[in-house]
């Protein structure tokens, strides 16, 4: 690993500066390591987020982190690991437990051109601060007629966690995506996490960045391009994760993985599903979704959140408005159950979409419905 770093930094620097640089790039070291062998190396979502934060902080001194336990504790989920040591307490701020207060402080700093990255330990706590996300951040550019833009990122884990009950387990994608003035991103893979977070930090508007705690430790293959410090993904563009011709499945965050697994199962039964990773909930890539539906003529939307007024509902409306004539079957929405999250493990499993739910919905949409008894 040392050799690789040395190579990357190039010859000519003395060993003393070398050492300094070596320490400076430490948090991103895992990213660099992956450069070493084949083009498709593995990277965890956690490393992807950490290296994105590290690189953007190093590139722009206006970028700073604030939130609960982001500093000395190294992040409740270790996303900010190593950053305090590298950038100091002025740029990695441990805040008191005051979401409304520190979120508003972040927004006020962003009014003056700083680029705060505000971490919510989980997005459930963003409810304490939603006034600032919506009223102070999202609306200011409009209310001030473009005088004051708000380059801030609100990030943290979102969606159903495991065994933590109703208050700590819900998806806020549809909530924030309902608000003009916010950009809402939901990465799935390491490539998504790294590329979208870097884009979010550079973006001049408020971005809500919805991670998933259960994905942090997951490794994904990434191409060499992803390791480049200039790698950035466009906001507002979906990614077709798997091409297919029989049915379109849209999903975001953890549900992309489920959709891909469902597609594998469906392929064995002769149904060739196209899986769209939305990446950006707002702006929503209506073009990619509609193009896909016009090809497959069938649509399933998958999300962990509540079904009513959900992301799936919006996608469904978009397809009905723009591609109604192309639909060969009713749209199926696979969503979380319309209940607060139960604690008991068996009920919790029933409350969030499972792979078999997606498979079943796909079969229904393709008129290959299994008998009712089997689907119950």
């Amino acid at each position: 690993m040392l050799g690789i770093i040395r190579q990357k930094l190039g010859a000519g620097s003395s060993s003393a500066t070398m050492l300094g640089q070596l320490q400076r790039i430490r948090p991103a070291a895992s990213a660099l390591r992956s450069f070493s062998s084949s083009a498709k190396e593995q990277m965890t979502v956690r490393d992807a987020l950490n290296s994105a934060l590290d690189e953007e902080m190093s590139a722009d001194p206006k970028v700073f982190l604030m939130g609960e336990e982001v500093g000395e504790y190294q992040g409740a989920y270790k996303i900010t690991k190593g950053l305090l040591d590298k950038y100091g307490p002025e740029r990695v701020l441990d805040t008191p437990i005051t979401e409304a207060g520190f979120t508003g402080i972040g927004v006020g700093a962003a009014y003056y051109g700083l680029k705060p990255v505000v971490e919510f330990m989980t997005f459930n706590f963003s409810m304490q601060a939603i006034d600032h996300i919506i009223n102070s951040a999202a609306k200011s550019n409009y209310m001030s007629a473009g005088q004051i833009n708000v380059p801030i990122v609100f990030r943290g884990p979102n969606g159903a966690a495991a065994g933590v009950g109703a208050q700590h387990s819900q998806c806020y994608a549809a909530w924030f995506a309902a608000v003009p003035g916010l950009k809402v991103l939901a990465p799935y893979s390491s490539e998504d996490a790294r590329g979208l977070l870097k884009a979010a930090i550079r973006d001049p508007d408020p971005v809500v960045f919805l991670e998933n705690e259960l994905l942090y430790g997951e490794s994904f293959p990434v191409s060499a391009e992803v390791f480049d410090s200039s790698f950035c993904l466009p906001i507002g563009k979906a990614k077709i994760e798997r091409e297919g011709k029989d049915i379109t499945i849209t999903a975001f965050s953890k549900m992309v993985g489920y959709a891909l697994q469902a597609a594998e199962i469906l392929a064995k039964e002769g149904i060739n599903a196209e899986v769209i990773n939305l990446r950006s909930i707002r702006p929503l890539d209506r073009a990619t979704i509609n193009t896909s539906v016009r090809k497959t003529n069938r649509l399933i939307t998958v999300e962990e959140g509540f079904p009513q007024h959900g992301v799936g509902a919006e996608i469904c409306a978009s397809v009905v408005e723009e591609s109604f004539g192309y639909l060969d079957a009713p749209v199926e929405r696979v969503a979380g159950a319309d209940v607060p999250m139960p604690y008991a493990a068996n009920l919790e499993r029933l409350a969030v979409p499972q792979i078999e739910d997606i498979v079943r919905a796909a079969k229904r949409a393709c008129y290959r419905s299994v008998p009712l008894a089997a689907s119950a």
Binding site: G101, G104, G108, A109, H132
Partner: protein, 433 residues
């Protein structure tokens, strides 16, 4: 109805706040540090140089009363005057502008020229003028829904504020903000926040950005101060306490200005607040708390000078409670039935503009004619503002969808200032950015 501010005033304003901070600095920090590990059984040591370490050394802070401060000033000053002639005229003009502007708003509201919620500032002018006229252009003002006069004091032209209220394209926010949401980046007026307490964290963030620019971005000359205005009702809101804590913890250059007009719509301050002396909450968080007569612009100004100076010198935040009164209802839609006529009369007799006039005459700073000339000038300014607003065009239909994002295409703006979406490589995720 008056507060017993005199009960707890061990320290005098002009000398104490700074001196207390300095003397506390001399408290051996090792003493505090050595005590810390045993605190509640914690073995954690404070990081040397950590931002949190220093404010702890300042736990005790000055509590001061303005009347003492003014007395002190009077005694020590070479003249007996609190202001020069020029300052007196500037203050007078600003207060008259604020008063006349709001009276004009009421007229225009009843004529249907403006709409929605319109909250007028009449009676409280001494606070806006006393504080904001001491700020520099670069200093920040964060206001509430009662923000017209703060905007005017900060220098936003009356034309632009009036036009905004008329919902016209020439308004300071092109008609997109409205009465409760005044912004002017050029004047560092960053809102107009319509929710109780919402402006306080944003103001604290603005103050944070001054400190960040000085300490992290190494802009050594950034000594900008933020003034956060809010009312007595807000002082019961959690965000107030959250930000007192963080502002003191991080020693931010901010002044929290409570405009205690004794009423939160129809809720009496005394009926809503366990301890009605709001200024006492400053020392509880490690910053000076000051109580001042908010109907006396000269007293407000003395306190403001000290508080703003403290912030500018990097000595941290101050909480100032200005006891004032609004001469009109909460908004123009408020029938104002709960306030006792005797109470209203009591404060009407203490009109801050009349008081300043009296001071000016008593000290021969200006003649009645000179003040009348100012009144006349303001009348003309307002006539012009109304005419301007009235004749200005409505925002065009095309404006509706503008300004939702700084970057409406959602792909970010590149270093060349162009939308990144225009680079085809960017949509493929392969652009070098």
């Amino acid at each position: 109805m008056s507060f017993s501010a005199a009960t707890t005033q061990p320290l005098r304003l002009n000398t104490t706040a700074g001196a207390a901070a300095r003397s506390n600095d001399k408290v051996p920090s090792s003493l505090l540090m050595s005590k810390t590990p045993s605190f509640l059984g914690s073995t954690r040591k404070l990081r040397p140089g950590c931002v949190a370490a220093k404010p702890n050394a300042q736990r005790r802070s000055a509590v001061v009363s303005v009347s003492e401060a003014v007395k002190e000033k009077k005694a020590s000053a070479s003249t007996n005057l609190l202001i020069t002639r020029e300052e007196g005229l500037e203050l007078y003009e600003d207060m008259v502008l604020g008063r006349a502007f709001e009276d004009m708003c009421a007229q225009m509201y009843y004529r249907g020229k403006m709409f929605g919620f319109v909250h007028l500032y009449n009676g409280q002018e001494a606070v806006s003028t006393g504080f904001i006229k001491l700020t520099k252009q670069e200093d920040t003002v964060v206001s509430t829904y009662r923000d017209h006069v703060h905007s005017l004091s900060k220098g936003v032209p009356a034309r632009e504020v009036m036009s905004e209220l008329f919902g016209k394209a020439t308004g300071c926010c092109r008609g997109q903000g409205g009465s409760m949401h005044m912004f002017s980046k050029a004047h560092n007026l960053i809102g107009g926040f319509a929710f109780i307490g919402e402006g306080i964290p944003v103001a604290t963030g603005a103050a944070f950005s001054s400190k960040y620019r000085r300490e992290v971005l190494k802009q050594a000359d950034c000594d900008h101060v933020t003034l956060a205005f809010f009312g007595d009702g807000t002082a019961n809101n959690g965000q107030f306490f959250e930000c007192l804590n963080m502002a003191a913890l991080w020693k931010l250059p901010i002044v929290f200005v409570v405009e205690n007009n004794l009423w939160a719509i129809g809720m009496s301050h005394l009926r809503a607040t366990s301890d009605p002396e709001i200024w006492k909450k400053g020392p509880a968080f490690g910053m000076p708390g000051v109580h001042v007569d908010g109907m006396d612009v000269l007293k407000v100004r003395e306190v403001a000078k000290e508080a703003i100076g403290r912030a500018r010198r990097g000595e941290g935040p101050t909480l100032v409670e200005c006891e004032t009164y609004r001469f009109r209802g909460h908004s123009l839609a408020d029938p104002d039935e709960l306030r006792d006529p005797a109470e209203k009369a009591h404060y009407a007799a203490r009109d801050p503009i009349t008081a300043l006039k009296k001071y000016i005459f008593e000290h021969n700073l200006a003649s009645e004619q000179e003040l009348k000339a100012i009144d006349k000038k303001i009348d003309e300014v307002l006539e012009d503002a109304v005419e301007f607003a009235d004749e200005s065009p409505l925002p065009p239909r095309s404006q509706l969808l503008e300004n939702v994002f700084a970057d409406p295409k959602g792909f970010g703006i590149g270093p060349d200032g162009r939308y990144r979406c225009e680079d085809p490589k960017f949509t493929q995720g392969t652009a070098k950015v």
